[in-house]
């Protein structure tokens, strides 16, 4: 069978071709482009908000610099009150030195002492615990406690158990009672965790 293409058929084919091209151009190029342009309004709004946020942040720039310096100073001052935590062994030695110096100053013989290794307490501190047992008069004990409190580096009595060496139920008939106290103290030293440099 011979295929005969008349003018009418040729015109129809031409229209079909043009329609196909138009469909392709519209559906593949024009409509997607128009859709993407349609999203431009919400996109612009988002960017406006972002820019406004950024500009507000820029205004705080100088203020932040001042605040940072101030807080750094505060932190440095506060950290100076603590035993340095970058070397736990040295820190343990320093705790022992503080305690022993205080005991020595007050004429207390430490009968037993024990010091733990540094343990992580929270995000900011590690802790060294020292337990000690000794006998002392009430004056010696109070002076010792005062020494500990006023030590240049921050140490604190976490637990204390104090009992008289000899339990009395009434005052002696003659003279002063010789009050010896047996003390069992737990002393803790908080060590700031060194700040890691970023990067």
């Amino acid at each position: 069978m011979k295929l005969q293409i008349r003018n009418r058929d040729r015109r129809a084919l031409l229209f079909l071709g043009i329609a196909a091209i138009l469909y392709g151009v519209i559906s593949l190029a024009l409509l997607p482009a128009f859709d993407s342009l349609g999203e431009a309004a919400s996109n612009a709004r988002d960017k406006e908000q972002q820019l406004s946020k950024y500009r507000r942040a820029l205004v705080r720039k100088g203020h932040y610099a001042q605040l940072l310096q101030q807080v750094r100073n505060n932190v440095a001052a506060a950290e100076a009150r603590f035993i340095r935590g970058d070397n736990p062994t040295l820190a343990a030695v320093e705790v022992q030195t503080i305690v022993e110096t205080a005991a020595q100053k007050n004429g207390i013989d430490l009968t037993q002492r024990n010091i733990s290794t540094a343990r992580r307490k929270d995000d900011f501190f590690t802790e060294i615990i020292m337990t000690l047992t000794f006998e002392a008069t009430s004056n010696q004990l109070s002076s010792f406690l005062a020494e500990i409190r006023n030590a240049p580096e921050f140490v604190v009595v976490r637990n204390a158990q104090i009992a008289p060496a000899e339990v009395m139920q009434e005052a002696p008939k003659k003279g002063d009672a010789k009050k010896m106290l047996r003390a069992n103290l737990t002393i803790a030293a908080a060590l700031p965790v060194p700040v890691r440099n970023r990067g």
Partner: protein, 438 residues
Amino acid sequence: MVFPANSTGIELCGSDLRFAITRSAFGKLQLIALHEIAGFTTMNDLERKKAVQALVKNNRIPVSRVFLALPREHGIVRQIDLPAELAEKLADIVKPQVEMLSPWPVDEVYWDFGFDPPKKNRKLMTVTIAIVPRAFLDPWIAFFKDAGLPLSGATLSSLAYGHGVSSFWNQSTPTLILDREEDYTEGVLISGNRIAAAKGPAEAVVRQLLSAGKLSSPEGCRCIFFGRTVDASDLDENPRIPLENAKPQSTAAFGSIATSLVALKESPFRANLIPRDMRYRESRLQLVPTYVLVFLAICMGLALVAREPYQNAVYASRLDSEIRKISPQVTEVAGQESELNQLSTRSRALTQQLQNREYNLEALRELARVLPATAFLSSYSYQDGAITVSGFAQSASEIQNLLESSSLFKNVEFTSSVIRDAGGKDRFTLKMLIEASQ
């Protein structure tokens, strides 16, 4: 023809001038209007001109393509058969034929020819030649130009009828056309590529045509009758013209309708007797401003639709570039903010730790101050802000009362039962909290 085009056909028929306006758009033919100037030939030149001008003005007749069909007797139509392979050189071959066929000197005639493009299995092709004396056509060309209807083409009525039949039906069925005017009857028989024409009394014309077409009777022919003497009821019997908007009565103007199609359709009978250089043609360049304006209007419309989204896109892009510009500084501020937060948290933790003091000294001093001389402590324990003391006293409840009254202690309570010993003293154990530690 793909794009819309109007064409005006004019037939000089009897004493009347008939107009038909047709339109071709996207391959479809449409009849727009029919007009007539009755008694045209009886008018003088000035009246004719005024009548035509008035008709054109009142009816807004398109003047871009105007074709005129002259009465058949003002020219001659001849058909010759030529070998199909000569199709490409037809103009050169027909010219000597015209010299032979024309009763007038060749210099004094306009001629043209139409032919059906040869098909592959056909060895011969029929060429239809029309010849008209210049002396007859030139006055009409001048007249219509003067009247504001410059002619784009001219043909003879019999060829126009043949062209119309061929354009409308394009079938091998013979078609008999009779134009019955008051003074005469003009008949044309079209059978395939063949055309025969006659003029005279109706019966003689029909007989002559049947004889020329080698037909015994009009039976089996498509017959179209029109003209001044044909009633409207007779027009209804004519085959309907396959033209949009055409009514059965439209066959009354078959000649002018067929003439208007000369500009729009091809057929073996299509001949334009006006030489190319004398044909009125509207330059396509004059449409350029229209197309440009249409294009600009479309662009303007698209621009209006796309303006807002486009401006938003441009605005978003500028915002984006501004954001990118200040982004490093903002990153620095964000870093500062983050560092400040970390340092603040650390500072709070350090301060809190420093404030977390113990109160042993104060507690021991307060116990020594408030306890009566008759009370003796056997143990003192301090753990996480809670103090527990055990001892002997004359009255345990008195001790509790004294401690509770102290500004340093609170929540003083017994942790075990109070036992009175043999010496008459209460043995107690009290637990309390430091007021300031809370």
